[in-house]
Symmetry: C2
Subunit: 640 residues, 2 copies
C-alpha cells in the first residue's frame, strides 16, 4: 500500500499516511483538530477542508455546494487520500468550542504523574470474567474477490469473511461504511481490517480500513471523579496497560461536590459548560498519553467510562436536575453505547463509548466497577468496599446480597480544598514521620522529587503523626508550642511540614485543613458504621474491607485506623486496592463477561439512603474526633 | 395538554401543535421545509431557526455559538414549544438542494391517478405472514411516576412500562431521546406515546411524544421502478391502504435503463444528481398523498421500499458502478434499516426506512417482494412470476426452489419512449377495439375522461387489434392502405388512434413505436422461455403464471397472448397481480413475518444470467414477430 504525505495548513503539520485513509483520519494522526460532530458519518458537514494540492477521491454529499466544489472544498471525513496533499483547514472547521476562560482554577495545576506510579494495585481477578473480548476488536481479512460463480454482494462477502473467523452475533453497520465499501475493497486488493464493536447487544462494524492494521488497537478506561479524572491507555491486543494519567476535573470551578454541579447545570448554558469542562480535561490527558507513547489517535477505538451518576450525566450532556429532586431519580443508570464523539471525547471519530451501569442517583458506575474489580460480589463472607472520594461510596455484601450508600466526604483526601493539597502525582508527599522532639517532618514524595504538596496518603500519615507527636490534640486543634514549625496564620494556627527553604514555598497544614480532613474521615467512617448496623452486623465479623481511592501508591493502614478513618479490625482484613473504579472499567473494556457481570452487580445492589436514617447524624458527630469519641471502638489505638 | 400556534416566516404558514413538540416537528406539520440531515439527533446543526417571539425550551448544544444564542437562534430539532411562537427560518436552513433544472423531462408530465385506480389487485395472502406487526408501532403509556420506594431511573421506568405491554427484544434508544426524557415525562405528566421501530434485529425506541398520539401511525410502501415510482400510504393501525400515487422516475432524464443510469452515476456529481432526482419525486408524491388525506407528516413513521438493485443503490447514494463491471456484484443486497432522512426521504425526521432485500445485480428487491406477494414461494407446483417493467424480472419456481433472470424490456409498456405513451393514470387509454372496416378505434380511458395518451394495457390491445384489423402485419409493419387513419410521418407510417379533433392532439402509434413495443415483448417472452428451458421444463406444464406490472387496472390476457407477450397456455393459469412489488413491500411494512419471509426468499432465489446463455439471442430474435416466428408455440392464436 502506498504512503502519502499530507500537510495541514495553517498548522504546517505533516503526517505520512496510507493511501485510502480519509483526510479526517490523517488530521487526527497529525494531531490537527478538525470539527466533526457526527462521527465521520458525513452528515454534519462540519469538517470542510480545502484541498490545495494533490489527488483525492470523495463520496457525493449534499453538504457541499457546487460553488464549494469548484473551490476544492471537501468533507474531510468522506474524502480519501490518493497522493501527497496540501490541506487548508478554514477557521470555520476548527473545533470552535473552548472551555470558557476562568474554568481552570489556578490552584489546580496540571502536574502529571509518570504512568507507572499510579497503576491500580493488583486485585484478585476472577479468571472467569477476564476472557479476552474487548469492547472493540480488530480483524484482518483477506477476502476472496467475487467471481462468476461466487457473486455474493460486497457487504455479504465482508460479513461472510468476518463470520468465518468468529461468529459475532447480530452483525450490523451504518450506511457510511457501506457507501465507500466497494471502492475500498477493490483499491485495497480485498485486504482490509475491520473494527467490530459491541453496541447494545449487537455487533457493529465500526470501521473498515485498508490493509492490515490489526496489530494496533487501543482502548481507554476512564474514571471521572468529582475532583479527579483518570485515564488509562490499554493495548487491546495484549491486554497490557500502556500508561495512566490523571488530572483534576475542571468542573471543580463550578462547585466542589455533585450538588453544586447539578445546581450549576440548571443555569443558562450551565450544562454545556460542565460538559465541556470535563471533556476538555479528558481530551487533554488522552492526547498527552497517546503522544507520549507514540500512538495514533485513530487506533484508539473505544472507551469504557466509570463515574458517579452525576458525572456520567454531565459527560453525556443529560440534564442531571432530577438527581437532586425528590424522589431522586436519575434519567438513566445504563446509558446506551454511543460513539465517543457524541460525548465530545476525541478518539477515532467512529470509536465507541460505553459507561459502567450505575445503581441510583448517588451510587454510580464507579461503585459497580469497584465491586467488580475487588470481587466483593463473589465472596462467601461479608465484605465492604470503601471508595474514598469526594462523593464516597460504600458497598457492603457478599455473593448473596449487596447494599450501598453514599458518603459526601468532600475533596480533602484528593488534595483539593486544603492549603497544600495536591493529587497523588509526582512531587506529592505520600508518607510522613514527625520527630516528636524537633517536630521536623521526614517524608517521601512520589517520584522522589522535591515536594510540591501533600496527597491523600500523606495527609493520613500527617494527621496520625501530629497526634502522636502532640502537635495536634484529639479534637483537631493544633497545640501552640514553643516551635518554629507552628505559627499563627490568617485563620488560626498552622503547622509547617516543609519550610519554604526546602520546598520553594511553605508546605503546611492549617486548623481549617484539619477540620476539612476530619469531616471527610467522619463522613466515611460513620457511613460505613451505619451501613453495618443497618444489616445488624458488626465490624469485627466482617471478613474483608477493600479500601479504594486516589491516595497514591500505598496507604498506611495503621495510620488510617489511628485517625479513625477506617474501623479498628485485624489488619490482615484490610486491603488497599487503589482506584478500583478505573480497574473495574478496564476489566469491562477488555472482557464481555466482565461487562455482563457489571450489569448483574448494578441490578443486585440495593441503595440505602443515609439521609433518611436518623442514626447517621449522631454517628457522624461522634466521629468528628481522632479517632472517635467512643474510644472503645478503637481498642488498638487506645492501647498504642 | 395545551396547544399553541406556531407561525413560520417567511412562509407565513401557521400550525397549531401540542406543547412539548419540537419546532422541527411543527414545521413538518405546517409543510414548511427546514434542513435536517441527522434525523433530529441534534448533531448536524442544519436546522437553525430564529425564535422571534414566544417561549421555548432547548437542550444545550455545541452547535449554537454564544452569539447565536444571544440572537435567539435555536436548533429546531431539540427546541420544544411552550407558547405561541413566531419562527423565522433563515435561508441557510432551507433544504438547499434543488433537482438541477432540466431533470424533469418535459414529456413526463405529472398526472396523478386517483388512488383507487391503481390499488394492487388482490393476491392470495398467506395468513401466516400477515400478522399485524408493522415496521414501526406506537404505544401509549401511562407510567407510574417514581416514588421513594420505586426509584428506578426514568429510562428503565420507560422500558419497564413498554415491556409490561409487550416484550420487544433488545430494546435500545439513542442519546437524543434520553437527553430530553426526564423533562418530557414530567411535563407530560407521565403520559407519553412511544414509537418502536424494528431496526436490524433490535427494537429501537424511535420517538417519545407527549400524550396519546397512538391513534395516528402511518407508513409508506414504495416501489422505485426504473421508469415509474409508486408510493402507497398505509394506516399502520388498521392495516388499511389510504391512498396510492405514482409518477415517472425523474432519473429518466439521465437515461432510460439502469445501465445508462449507472454510467451517469460515475460522472462528476452524477450519483448525487440521480439520488436527488428520485428523492424529489418521492417527496413530491408523499406530500401530495398526505395533504390529500389530511395527515401530518410527523405521523408517518416508517417506509418500506422495494426496487431493483440499481434503484436501491441510487436511493441510498451508494455507488452502483460495480453492478455493471464483471463479475457484476452489487455493494449490498440487504442494506441496513436506517432513518428515512439519511436517504433524503421526508417523513418524521426520526422515522425508519427499510428496503426489501435483493438477490443480485439485476434481480432486486422488487422481484423478491413480488414473489412474496403472489405467494410463488409456497406453491406445490411450478409457477412463474413475470414482472413486466423497464428492467423486467422473471422468477420461476415453487416452494422447493426459485430461479430468476432479468429481461431488459425498456420503458415502452410503461408508456415511456413511445409517441403517445403515458403512465396508467387518469386519461390513459387502457383498452382499445378497432373497427376492421372503418379502422376507427373505440377505447376507454382511466377515469373515463378525455384521452391524453396510451398506457401499457392500451398498447397491448392496440397491437392485437391492429393485427386483427390488418392495420399492421405480423412483422410490425403498418399496411399503407386507403384510410385517413394511416398516414406517413417523419419516420415511416403511423396509425392515428384518436385524431386531434377528439383528443386535442393526435394520439397515434408509429412504426418506431411498434418496434419498441415488439422488442419489449420479445425480451420478456424469450427470457421466460429460456428460463423454462433452462430447468428442462415446458410452458404447458406450468401451473400458474403471475403477471405483474404497472399496466393499469386490467390486462387483456387474450391480447397479451395474441401479440406474443405471454405464452399461449390455458387462460385460467394466467393471473394478473398488478404492482406486486408494491404489494410485497406493503406486506413487509405491516408484518415481521413477511419481512423474515422476504429474506428467506432473497436467499433462496438463484440468479440466472441470460447474457451468458447462448440460446437467449436466438429466442429473442425468434420472438421479434407477432406473436412469434414459430407459430406452433401459439396454437390458439393461429386458430383465432
Amino acid at each position: 500500500m502506498k504512503k502519502f504525505k499530507v500537510t495541514f495548513y495553517p498548522d504546517k503539520k505533516s503526517v505520512e499516511v496510507d493511501e485510502e485513509k480519509t483526510i479526517l483520519s490523517a488530521a487526527i494522526s497529525a494531531g490537527v483538530h478538525i470539527d466533526s460532530v457526527c462521527g465521520g458519518d458525513g452528515v454534519c458537514g462540519r469538517c470542510k477542508v480545502i484541498v490545495r494540492r494533490g489527488e483525492v477521491s470523495t463520496q457525493p454529499s449534499g453538504l457541499i455546494t457546487n460553488e464549494e466544489r469548484k473551490k476544492n472544498i471537501y468533507l474531510a471525513c468522506i474524502t480519501t487520500i490518493h497522493g501527497d496533499l496540501e490541506i487548508e483547514i478554514p477557521a470555520s472547521s476548527r473545533a470552535h468550542f473552548e472551555v470558557p476562560s476562568g474554568v481552570l482554577n489556578k490552584g489546580l495545576e496540571e502536574v502529571y504523574a509518570p504512568s507507572e506510579e499510579i497503576e491500580p494495585l493488583s486485585v484478585a481477578v476472577d479468571e472467569e470474567i477476564f476472557s479476552h473480548s474487548p469492547l472493540a476488536t480488530k480483524l484482518y481479512l483477506e477476502i476472496p474477490p467475487p467471481e462468476l460463480d461466487d457473486k455474493v454482494s460486497d457487504l455479504d462477502r465482508l460479513y461472510r469473511a468476518i463470520k468465518s473467523k468468529k461468529n459475532f452475533p447480530l452483525l450490523q453497520t451504518g450506511l457510511t461504511n457501506i457507501r465507500g465499501l466497494s471502492e475500498l475493497l477493490r483499491r485495497s486488493n480485498w485486504k482490509v481490517t475491520v473494527t467490530l464493536g459491541k453496541r447494545n447487544d449487537a455487533t457493529e462494524l465500526v470501521l473498515i480500513e485498508p490493509q492490515d492494521t490489526s496489530a494496533k488497537n487501543f482502548g481507554l478506561a476512564i474514571d471521572i471523579g468529582t475532583t479527579t479524572v483518570s485515564v488509562q491507555l490499554v493495548d487491546l491486543i495484549s491486554d497490557r496497560i500502556i500508561g495512566t494519567r490523571l488530572t483534576y476535573n475542571k468542573q471543580a470551578s463550578f462547585g466542589s461536590d455533585v450538588i453544586s454541579r447539578i445546581i450549576h447545570a440548571q443555569k443558562d448554558n450551565g450544562l454545556e459548560e460542565l460538559h465541556l469542562a470535563v471533556t476538555e480535561c479528558l481530551n487533554q490527558i488522552i492526547e498527552e498519553l497517546i503522544s507520549e507513547h507514540n500512538i495514533d489517535l485513530n487506533d484508539v477505538t473505544c472507551v469504557l467510562c466509570a463515574g458517579n451518576t452525576t458525572m456520567i450525566h454531565l459527560l453525556l450532556r443529560i440534564d442531571p436536575s432530577y438527581i437532586r429532586r425528590q424522589p431522586y431519580v436519575p434519567t438513566a443508570n445504563l446509558p446506551p453505547t454511543i460513539r465517543a464523539s457524541e460525548a465530545g471525547i476525541r478518539i477515532n471519530p467512529r470509536g465507541l463509548l460505553s459507561c459502567v451501569p450505575g445503581v441510583a442517583s448517588y451510587v454510580g458506575g464507579d461503585a459497580v466497577a469497584g465491586v467488580l474489580s475487588c470481587g466483593l460480589y463473589k465472596e462467601e463472607d461479608l465484605g465492604i468496599l470503601i471508595d474514598i472520594g469526594t462523593n464516597g461510596e460504600i458497598v457492603l455484601g457478599n455473593k448473596e446480597f449487596l447494599v450501598a450508600c453514599a458518603a459526601s466526604a468532600g475533596p480533602a483526601f484528593e488534595g483539593s480544598g486544603v492549603s497544600s493539597g495536591m493529587r497523588a502525582t509526582s512531587g506529592a508527599i505520600q508518607s510522613v514521620k514527625i520527630d516528636p522532639k524537633t517536630l521536623r517532618a521526614s517524608f517521601n514524595t512520589i517520584g522522589n522529587v522535591k515536594p510540591s504538596g501533600i496527597c491523600g496518603s500523606g495527609y493520613i500519615d500527617l494527621l496520625a503523626e501530629m497526634l502522636r507527636s502532640g502537635v495536634m490534640d484529639k479534637s483537631g486543634k493544633i497545640n501552640a508550642g514553643n516551635s518554629s514549625r507552628i505559627r499563627k496564620g490568617a485563620s488560626g494556627l498552622e503547622f509547617i511540614v516543609v519550610p519554604k527553604e526546602e520546598a520553594g514555598e511553605d508546605i503546611l497544614i492549617t486548623e481549617a485543613d484539619i477540620d476539612n480532613l476530619k469531616r471527610a474521615k467522619a463522613a466515611i467512617y460513620s457511613a460505613t458504621s451505619v451501613l453495618v448496623k443497618y444489616i445488624n452486623f458488626d465490624f469485627l465479623r466482617v471478613s474483608k474491607i477493600f479500601i479504594a481511592g486516589g491516595f497514591g501508591n500505598f496507604l498506611n493502614l495503621e495510620n488510617a485506623i489511628f485517625i479513625g478513618l477506617l474501623p479498628d479490625i485485624e489488619r490482615e482484613k484490610l486491603i488497599f486496592v487503589g482506584n478500583s473504579s478505573l480497574a473495574g472499567g478496564r476489566l469491562m473494556l477488555l472482557s464481555s463477561a466482565a461487562m455482563k457481570r457489571a450489569r448483574e452487580i448494578a441490578r443486585k445492589i440495593t441503595y440505602f439512603e443515609l439521609s433518611v436514617e436518623p442514626r447517621y447524624m449522631e454517628e457522624y458527630m461522634a466521629a468528628l474526633f481522632f479517632p472517635h469519641t467512643d474510644f472503645k471502638l478503637f481498642p488498638s489505638v487506645k492501647a498504642g
